[in-house]
């Protein structure tokens, strides 16, 4: 088991001239809920330090309320940290941008655009020439296997197909960092497994960097080569674990189960006694 699961809680500066694609330093985030005397301050994140290297598949794993989605939304530029800094290739992240493609659990597709038009949305907004946009849209519609559905509207698609469109539209937009917020959480088990495998294919083909939020230990062990375990109150990263299981990973193998059990142990050790992992 040990050879597959390596703790690396201390973040060492990477050796050589290699610069991390993403760097999160001292990030905290407080929310105020309610108003007046009933106002409560919530520490969603406290003292988060993470560096992500190009090509990594990183899962943010934690129970609900641990701030993992908040951290992802800060990286996406939808929210600003209360303290600390987030940089991509050294440049501060201040707003959403096409280099950081977000895939939402509820898809966030434009219902008035067809599959193909949804995929073409980003390239078109960035002013790419019409003929080139068409070629890009065709290519990525094909990449997620939706050629036959290119002129369908989102309302006519299943959840799995919608999520394929959501993935294709950020890939079509040349994103370098793929941010995924429990993207398969609303799908049935079979569709989820299919999409996980497809996502890994895409990741291996493109060598994208992926930051993937999930509360499923199994999903994290199946997908990630690095898992950041988060715990709540205030939200922080309690473990930084490499997963070196060979791919394709077999969820029924004893090695897989060893890693899963170990990771579940890390997750529950941060929860209050008697609380089962989510």
């Amino acid at each position: 088991m040990k050879e597959f699961l390596t703790g690396s809680t201390a973040i060492e500066p990477s050796t050589g001239p290699k610069r991390p694609i993403l760097s999160v330093r001292g990030v905290s985030k407080q929310f105020t809920i309610g108003a007046g005397s009933a106002a409560t301050r919530i520490d969603a994140l406290h003292g988060i330090d993470v560096e992500v290297q190009k090509g990594e598949f990183v899962c943010l794993l934690g129970a609900s309320g641990c701030g993992k989605s908040t951290l992802l939304r800060i990286v996406a530029g939808f929210e600003q940290p209360s303290e600390g800094a987030v940089t991509m290739y050294g440049a501060p992240i201040v707003a959403p941008g096409p280099e950081r493609g977000m895939v939402f659990q509820d898809y966030g597709l434009f219902p008035w655009l067809t599959v193909r038009e949804n995929i073409a949305f980003g390239p078109r907004e960035r002013g790419i020439a019409r003929s080139h946009v068409d070629a890009i849209a065709d290519r990525f519609t094909g990449m997620v296997g939706l050629q036959k559905f290119a002129s369908y509207y989102p309302a006519q698609l299943s959840g799995g197909m919608k999520q394929r469109v959501a993935i294709a539209r950020v890939l079509a937009n040349d994103c370098e960092l793929l941010l995924m917020d429990e993207p398969f959480g609303a799908l049935d088990a079979l569709t989820r497994e299919r999409l996980q495998a497809e996502l890994l294919d895409i990741w291996q083909q493109t060598r994208l960097t992926v930051l993937f939020v999930t509360h499923s230990v199994e999903e994290a062990v199946f997908l990630a080569n690095r898992v950041l375990v988060m715990s709540a109150g205030p939200g922080r990263i309690s473990d930084d674990i490499r997963i070196d299981l060979p791919r394709p990973r077999d969820v029924s193998s004893p090695e897989f189960n060893d890693v899963r059990r170990a990771l579940t142990g890390r997750l529950t050790s941060h929860l209050a006694p008697g609380v089962a992992p989510g």
Partner: protein, 261 residues
């Protein structure tokens, strides 16, 4: 096609029963106040083609209809021109909402008919007063539904557009407008319906032409057949023009299964 014919047949059952009931009621009571359906049908024919009564109303329907259509659509398009941009602004710009919304909401409960005396003072006796009333009636449904549509756009769609590289200046055209379209169409359809309702009120202000004027003439001459014929024409034309709007709606919003009507 057979299914379509069956649907048409089903839609005609209730009107046929109403006409039969009307005929039976007139025959049973022997009233002279309400004409039987056949008399109204003859008057309708006369209004269209003449040759039955040969009075000043014979063959006059198209003049009345044209006058009303001009006022209905004059008022309706004025309402669209005012309410649509205003609704978009109120929905999108908080300052404008804070400045205009209370006033507009306070004016809203006033029935359009209550404006009749004032509109006659403003615009005199004539088509302008009718157009004004139609405008007022169509204005609020369009305004309220547009505002609602703009305000109800999901935050998620703004986030999605932003992370795909949509600039904040393009957001309005690329996200707000298409997302608000179903609501805007609902407003247009409601406003259009109110425009046809209010044309009769508008044309009671002493205009010589128009379906409302025809009904008022029928009333002062105790020609109830004319009154009912005018009512029927308004019903049919209002229905037909609503179907045109519905067809446009279904065409423009084919992406939205909830909004097909």
């Amino acid at each position: 096609m057979a299914a379509h014919a069956a649907a048409v047949a089903r839609a005609l059952v209730v009107p046929a029963l109403l006409v039969l009931g009307w005929h039976a009621a007139v025959a049973a009571t022997g009233t002279k106040m309400v004409p039987p359906p056949l008399d109204v049908a003859r008057t309708l024919w006369d209004l269209c083609a003449g040759g039955i009564h040969d009075d000043p109303f014979s063959g006059s329907i198209f003049g009345h209809l044209w006058a009303s259509v001009q006022r209905v659509y004059g008022g309706f398009f004025l309402a669209v021109a005012a309410a649509l941009p205003l609704g978009l602004l109120i929905g999108r710009v908080p300052v404008i909402r804070e400045m205009l919304d209370p006033t507009l909401q306070a004016l809203r409960p006033i029935p359009v008919t209550a404006w009749l005396p004032l509109s006659m003072i403003f615009f005199g006796l004539g088509p302008k007063a009718a157009i004004f009333l139609v405008f007022l009636g169509a204005f609020y449904p369009i305004l309220l539904n547009t505002t609602f549509g703009v305000r109800a756009v999901e935050t998620r769609l703004f986030e999605a557009a932003a992370m795909l590289g949509c600039s904040s200046s393009a957001m309005f055209r690329k996200v707000v407008l298409p997302a608000a379209m179903p609501s805007i169409f609902t407003g247009l359809r409601l406003g259009h319906g109110f425009a046809w309702i209010l044309i009769v009120v508008g044309e009671m202000t002493g205009v010589p032409q128009g379906l409302g004027a025809l009904i008022m003439d029928g009333r002062s001459l105790a020609r109830t057949d004319l009154v009912i014929a005018g009512m029927l024409v308004i019903g049919v034309v209002g229905y037909a023009s609503d179907r045109v709007l519905v067809a446009l709606n279904n065409r423009a919003l084919q992406w939205n299964p909830q909004h097909r009507v």
